[in-house]
Symmetry: C2
Subunit: 422 residues, 2 copies
């Protein structure tokens, strides 16, 4: 019944394939692919005496640091509005549990939202994204879907937005975010704004739903993407100020206390340091942001050259190409679904991606999600060189990978076959 998270499953499949001797180009997994920022290893080592459980929501130091972090980003926040967790994934789950109601999602959206809703026995109301950017539903279809949901017996309670977005790598424009928030407000929905990529906007700041629906928007984030600490499992949430927010903070703390107790204390120490914005951490994130932008843009160009449609990347390290323009050419090769396409790339070219169906799209869509961040290198040394290189795309372990990707895409999409069955 339960499915293994598609993103984690492809990562494990790639490792198995590599152990079997394949040279796999891994574009399937959103691991940020840069080294640990300066200073944080020392904090982890120094925290070894912290073996007690500590408060569920986090230590006062960690919560104060997170509150300061939000406040310096234009969102005044008290430490009492913060809750830490072993990653933002358990936070999202606990928020769905604590808020209640059926779950409204943009389509496509990150693989785990719908799976978490299913674990809690909630229905999903899925609404297509606008043409320009993902992470939010298109406002007009959203209005219609909510009306229809009521008629169908669903009880939408919470809308999950991803700003910036995974899988599309885009940033929803301010006016669309505002329009979506207005619909949410009209329908009494709470908003969960998953902002784990907010530090990685290629061109600076990102418009958060919290600016439009402040008293009903919870922000979740963490250090897995901005600081590439996925393996250290550090997430945190900001509940709103005001009465509803205080109640939610209490409910959320209750759920957290019954599911995971607290974030590991040494990791809270790491968070307290990182979230105080020391210059070496800020510089590290800026370098990562440049690297992500550079490689995502480079791969975007190659996707367009191969005939795919694709929104230009605006944040993070994802691209979400649509191979609909090559549908006939692909059909002639037996490829009629996104899964077929991802399978062909893996089987024929040892290139790992995920089909759009993993993100809630019908499998007839010829969409893929590509993560470009594992191109940076296989070792901490290579990743460090990528981070500091003027021209990372020219590095000797990156350039051939890009060439290989282009060649595979062109081979799949080029209209050079005879099509006897057309």
């Amino acid at each position: 019944m339960t499915t293994h998270s598609a993103t984690l499953a492809i990562d494990e499949a790639v490792h198995a394939r590599r152990e079997a001797g394949h040279d796999v180009l891994h574009l399937g997994f959103g691991e940020a692919g840069v080294p640990v920022a300066p200073g944080l290893a020392e904090v982890l080592a120094d925290a070894h005496l912290r073996n007690g459980y500590g408060p569920v929501a986090g230590s006062s130091q960690a919560r104060a640091a997170a509150a300061g972090w939000f406040t310096r980003r234009g969102l005044p926040t008290e430490p009492g509005q913060i809750l830490f967790a072993p990653g933002s994934k358990p936070l999202l789950f606990a928020l769905l549990a604590a808020i209640g109601g059926d779950v409204v999602l943009p389509c496509p959206s990150w693989v785990s939202y719908a799976a978490q809703a299913a674990l809690l026995g909630r229905r999903v109301v899925s609404v297509p994204i606008p043409a320009e950017a993902g992470g939010i539903p298109d406002p007009e279809p959203l209005e219609q879907a909510l009306r229809q949901a009521g008629a169908d017996g669903a009880r939408p309670g919470v809308l999950v937005l991803t700003v910036p977005d995974n899988p599309t790598g885009t940033v929803a424009p301010a006016e669309q975010v505002e329009a979506v928030c207005a619909v949410a407000e009209r329908h009494g929905l709470a908003v969960i704004s998953d902002e784990i990529y907010a530090e990685l906007g290629h061109r600076g700041t990102v418009c958060s739903p919290v600016q439009h629906l402040g008293e009903r928007t919870v922000v979740t984030t963490g250090l897995s993407k901005s600081l590439a600490l996925g393996g250290w499992r550090i997430g945190f949430a900001r509940t709103p100020a005001g009465r509803w927010g205080r109640h939610l903070q209490q409910e959320l703390t209750g759920v957290a206390s019954e599911i995971w107790s607290s974030l590991a204390a040494p990791m809270q120490a790491v968070a307290a340091r990182a979230l105080s914005d020391p210059p070496e951490v800020t510089a590290h994130i800026a370098a990562a942001r440049r690297l992500h932008a550079r490689l995502a843009t480079e791969v975007h160009t190659r996707l367009l050259s191969a005939g795919a449609q694709c929104r230009p990347p605006q944040a993070g390290f994802y691209l979400y190409p649509d191979f609909a323009p090559a549908r006939e050419v692909l059909r002639a090769q037996g490829i009629t679904t996104g899964t077929d396409l991802a399978t062909a790339l893996l089987d024929r070219h040892d290139i790992a991606t995920l089909p759009g169906s993993a993100f809630g799209e019908p499998d007839t869509a010829l969409t893929l999600r590509l993560a470009t961040s594992l191109l940076y290198g296989a070792t901490p040394r290579q990743r460090h060189m990528a981070l500091t290189a003027e021209e990372p795309q020219a590095l000797p372990w990156i350039a051939p990978a890009l060439t290989r990707l282009s060649a595979a895409l062109v081979e799949l999409t080029a209209d050079r076959h005879h099509h006897p069955h057309r």
Copy 2:
């Protein structure tokens, strides 16, 4: 709707009370109270390069170490049967989600089982424990309760046992475990055996349900109690060999992938070391076991002296006294429930405990759960001295605390008042 885990709530309440200037004797929280074992801080520090997510179930090293750990304890185990998590609490939650069905619990039992069942929308079938030891339901009432549950429309799917037990600090005898497993088998129940205190049996080995119902028993455990690493959040499960076990491992991995992704990689490195049973870790656990036994036994004597009934402690650092013999004396002071009793101890004597109602008992029971492990000291140095002392109960920060506890209990229970309302 959601309640904050009672054990974590009392811990936070004690810290708040201390900040307000009170000298609180904290017997409310099951933190193991000993220092970090030698060698583990170095492993944590050395693991700072492990910032990638890694496999959901755990690294091959950590899983192999856990399999070896079980195998050396008489339970042959393959690495494929192991799954790590940020604590055993999320594992228990994920197991309830993955196994399905309503949840059968001994009464009293640990605070979070019932809360987790409620979060998943499952019913709880509560069955009293036998007179001699807790952690398992009394077999005969269990049989009756399961028959009745079916008639009431419940669908019992899983029985949770705690061997050794929290809150009673006892170890269910082998023949009772066997009898309970036979009932579980007859009713087609899966068994979750929470064995987080198994290394802390005061007199050696503990009988696990897995010895009686091997193909349907999942064992959960972790390093929070044996190695006092509650704040490092390291838990792991062993799913059974056989077809059902393989299916469960897959389902469990799926749920884990959607709720927490993986245990933090540096903590997996710690687990891999600790679970290889290096001599300095084994010696540390043995010293902790002696200390737990010494103090629990000491407090047990004092509870009996004050007129309470209490099962003799057999594992870990818990006692579960019943003040029923002093019911009339207590009533004369306005104390008629376990909550009244815990409140009186806290308000009048600054002694923190938890009432039996936190563990599922009716509040009319005059039961308390006492954790003796926070008596060991307030600093790593004090805790280290307690761990190595010949007579820890005589240490100058422990002896006065014991005297204070005795005095408070005697003051509450001694029949020296006039009882005008009798």
